[in-house]
């Protein structure tokens, strides 16, 4: 298992390098710069000398290949550079925000798993029932409703009409502030998990080994626990892994709507003002997060089904 884990971790390195190169090239060729963004709202007329000095201060007057070399040298030393806007190390800027994003992602995923997986199971065990129909209608709605719109509806009912929850903000870490953004972000994976679990359970229930287990006189509970759950979990863990891995990226819209101080929001702001070191660092963190989660999922696969280790 250790060799398998190390092999998977080493496979991440070329991916990270490729992503770093891609981000760097994209933001080197697209028009617009940090200096021009300072006057983009038309509220400031910056003189050309100052703009030139700003470009020089941040090394933007150097050739692209020199900047890329410096970036990679910094990267291998875990130095992501200095933010143009915050004038602080990018690692500190991201570090200030990453916990808020993690908190939101974990809360949304826990909500999706705790509600979605049992719903999928129950619906599959009673196919065609009212509960099954309601679950699937809810799942389709959850998948098709734009998160932004859902968030606004939740805000309207739970904050404005009922007054139970705050409509926006971080609240210094108060869990009450986490509820609405986590539910909004968690609805899509919840719906996906419910549908996946239901489909997986229905498919496995028709397999020969399930019929064999029943014919041996095994109780329903034992069949579900020993045969059904174990096989369905591979499918469910795959879905959880993919959803959890991409959640930081998906959270951008939710963070903006609820003014949640995560790295998604930081990314949007930084792209607009061309704070390239922060953009590069933030995307890299999102990519590494995705890779780590998927590597972790692969390790869990191997634990659930040892045959996977051989492939």
């Amino acid at each position: 298992m250790l060799r398998f884990t190390i092999r998977r971790l080493l496979q991440m390195i070329p991916t990270i390098f490729a992503v770093a190169l891609l981000i760097f090239v994209i933001f080197s060729v697209i028009p617009g710069s940090f200096a021009s963004s300072l006057m983009s709202d038309g509220r400031t007329n910056a003189d050309p000398e100052t703009l030139a000095r700003i470009n020089a201060e941040f090394g933007l007057d150097k050739p692209v290949h020199v900047r890329f070399g410096e970036y990679i040298v910094g990267l291998v030393q875990f130095d992501l550079g200095t933010s143009f806007r915050f004038r602080e190390p990018v690692t500190e800027v991201i570090g200030d925000r990453v916990w808020a994003s993690l908190k939101l992602s974990v809360a949304a995923m826990v909500f999706a798993i705790v509600v979605g997986v049992p719903l999928g199971f129950i619906a599959a065990l009673r196919p065609g029932s009212i509960l099954d129909t309601a679950t699937m209608v809810g799942a389709v709605s959850g998948l098709s409703m734009p998160q932004f719109w859902l968030g606004l509806l939740l805000m309207y009912f739970f904050a404005l009409q009922l007054g139970w929850l705050p409509s926006f903000g971080y609240g210094g870490g108060d869990p009450l502030y986490l509820i609405l953004p986590a539910i909004t972000l968690g609805v899509t994976p919840l719906a996906l998990l419910a549908r996946t679990t239901r489909a997986g359970v229905l498919e496995i229930m028709n397999e020969d080994f399930i019929r064999t287990a029943h014919s041996k006189g095994m109780s329903n509970a034992r069949v579900v626990r020993w045969h059904l759950m174990r096989n369905v979990m591979v499918l469910v863990v795959t879905t959880i892994g993919l959803q959890f891995g991409s959640m930081m990226g998906q959270a951008v819209v939710i963070e903006k709507l609820f003014a949640w101080p995560g790295i998604g929001l930081l990314l949007v702001d930084s792209v607009a003002i061309r704070d390239i070191p922060v953009v590069q660092g933030t995307i890299l963190v999102i990519v590494v997060w995705f890779l780590v989660i998927n590597t972790f999922v692969d390790i869990i696969y191997a634990a659930i089904d040892p045959r996977i280790k051989q492939t």
């Binding site: 617009g32 038309g42 400031t44 700003i54 915050f86 004038r87 926006f168 971080y170 101080p261």
Partner: protein
């Protein structure tokens, strides 16, 4: 008799209550909104021109001058008196008694330190131009001098600033928030960016990146009895829909409104009485590039102004959240010509002007614009059919805001739509049309007109403020006649506020930026604010 006495007593009590209700009350917490982005940048306000960063800075810092919203002009803030030399070049300030948050007394040395830091070439700070007219700045910037010779501390409380040319009102530049005064040497401290110290009415308490900054009352603030509030949470909330819900839910005390919300709030009985409006110093326009041959003809530029039904667009698309522009200088500018008449919507006249210019078959051009709802593609799409009626074929080229700010100074366009600062200083504003001002600086039209230059030169040499203003007004009339832009509108900034909040100022330079020390909340505020 008894009835009459009772009535009189009731009236007296009522009057007293009304008077009492208008007297500022101390205490409470304000939830103020910074709506122009999802984060604050650095807390070193010298290094940033972003309006968003001014929200906390205005609470923490003070500059030598401040903007007087009521009178519409800069006024002394950190000085009690200024003496100006006869030639209008030397300003001698008597500084007021004021303390920084760390207890240090304000001295002339602090101001010199702050201005030299802003101007230092190694720092690349956007405010460098505020002191670019001071004697000795060139030597300081090129490294041949360690200090700016035009900044002198006569003693701890007397500061002398010498300019190269006569300056009518240095306050227009020195009132800027990013020309704030720091305690001498303080910015070199490692923690200054995360824990700034200033002269402002509130002390920095906490920054939750991406969420809010909290400041609390500075007991030693130099204005007696101020600030009234105990604490301000300056929260980040740039999404208009979320801001609307939060405002209606009483979680925030102010909300900047866009055109759609402006209409909705005006129609809502519960909200319509608490809306603050001001004509801000921004002009929305479509600028023409004279490098594109048709725009070299004044008749063509005037034809475009005549071919667009500007009033209709302001009514239907901007929902009257704007003032019709006549020329370049806005309504709130001291040099605004109140008698100026905007270009009339007259398609036949537009066609005639095009024919006079030799373009009987019309012209075609491209407008580079952003997605901005008030001065972007929405407006361009609306004027396309209007211009087509006059034989002018237009296409839109969408770009991002930072790209627009790159292509316009470079002249890499045929026409552009933008909202540009047009005040409050009419001299700095009109200088953008001076032929010696480069396109990269702010002469985006590459405007070159001998008559304008002559009037502007006269204004430059004029020391008398009233005469200077009159000359600048005359210069603005020339710009209107020359029509380097389609003059669209001047921004009407609109802010909704909760009924318990008082003391807001109609700040024409930026409505959302308030002098927090004047704000106070009354007893009707929710418990969370008390």
């Amino acid at each position: 008799m008894l009835k009459s006495l009772t009535l009189s007593a009731a009236l007296l009590i009522g009057t007293a209550a009304a008077t009492w209700a208008q007297d500022p009350q101390s205490g409470g917490t304000l939830n103020f909104v910074a709506p122009y982005g999802s984060s604050f940048g650095t807390l070193d306000i010298h290094s940033t021109p972003a309006t968003q960063d001014e929200f906390p800075a205005k609470a923490i810092h003070r500059s030598l001058y401040d903007w007087n919203s009521a009178e519409g002009k800069p006024e002394l803030e950190l000085a009690t008196n200024v003496e100006v030399s006869d030639d209008g070049k030397v300003f001698t300030y008597t500084l007021r008694d004021a303390k920084f948050h760390d207890g240090k007394e304000l001295t002339a040395g602090d101001i010199i330190y702050s201005y030299q830091r802003i101007a230092h070439p190694d720092n690349a700070f956007p405010g460098a131009r505020y002191v670019s007219g001071v004697v000795g700045i060139d030597e300081f910037v090129d490294g041949s001098a360690d200090s700016i010779s035009g900044l002198k501390a006569i003693d701890d409380k007397t500061l002398e600033i010498s300019y190269k040319e006569p300056v009518a009102e240095p306050g227009y530049e020195l009132m800027r928030v990013n020309a704030a005064i720091y305690p001498e040497g303080a910015a070199e401290a490692a923690d200054f960016q995360t824990s700034p110290v200033g002269l402002g009415p509130f002390k920095f308490v906490e920054n939750i990146p991406g969420s809010r900054i909290t400041v609390e009352k500075f007991e030693d603030f130099y204005e007696d009895g101020k600030p009234y509030l105990d604490k301000i949470n300056i929260v980040l909330l740039d999404d208009a829909s979320a801001r609307d819900v939060a405002f209606r839910n009483q979680e925030i005390d102010v909300s900047v409104l866009g055109p759609s919300q402006y209409v909705a709030y005006q129609a809502d009985d519960a909200l319509k009485d608490n809306i603050l409006e001001v004509a801000e110093v921004y002009t929305r326009h479509v600028g023409f590039n004279p490098d594109y041959e048709p725009f070299q003809k004044k008749e063509v530029r005037q034809a475009i102004n005549h071919a667009i039904n500007t009033d209709l667009i302001i009514e239907r698309l901007v929902k009257n959240k704007a003032y019709r522009a006549t020329g370049w200088l806005p309504i709130s500018s001291p040099a605004y010509n109140k008698d100026a008449v905007p270009y009339a919507y007259d398609v036949e006249k537009a066609k005639q002007l095009l024919a006079d210019a030799g373009y009987e078959d019309g012209i075609e051009f491209e407008i580079t614009a952003t997605q901005n709802e008030s001065w972007g593609l929405t407006i361009v799409e609306a004027i396309i059919p209007m211009l087509a009626d006059a034989g002018i074929r237009v296409t839109a080229k969408p770009v991002e805001a930072s790209v627009l700010a790159e292509v316009v100074p470079a002249g890499d366009h045929q026409a552009f739509m933008w909202s540009n600062v047009s005040g409050p200083d009419p001299y700095a504003t009109m200088k953008c049309f001076y032929s010696e001002t480069t396109r990269a600086a702010c002469n985006y039209w590459a405007f070159d007109n001998a008559e304008f230059d002559a009037v502007f030169d006269e204004a430059t040499a004029e020391a008398d403020p009233a005469k200077k203003t009159a000359l600048l007004s005359q210069a603005n009339d020339i710009v209107q006649e020359e029509a380097p832009s389609w003059f669209f509108n001047y921004n009407k900034a609109v802010m909704a506020y909760q009924p318990w909040l008082h003391g807001l100022q109609q700040n024409a330079t930026e409505l959302a930026i308030q002098n927090y020390e004047d704000l106070w909340i009354d007893d009707t505020a929710p418990d969370s604010r008390k």
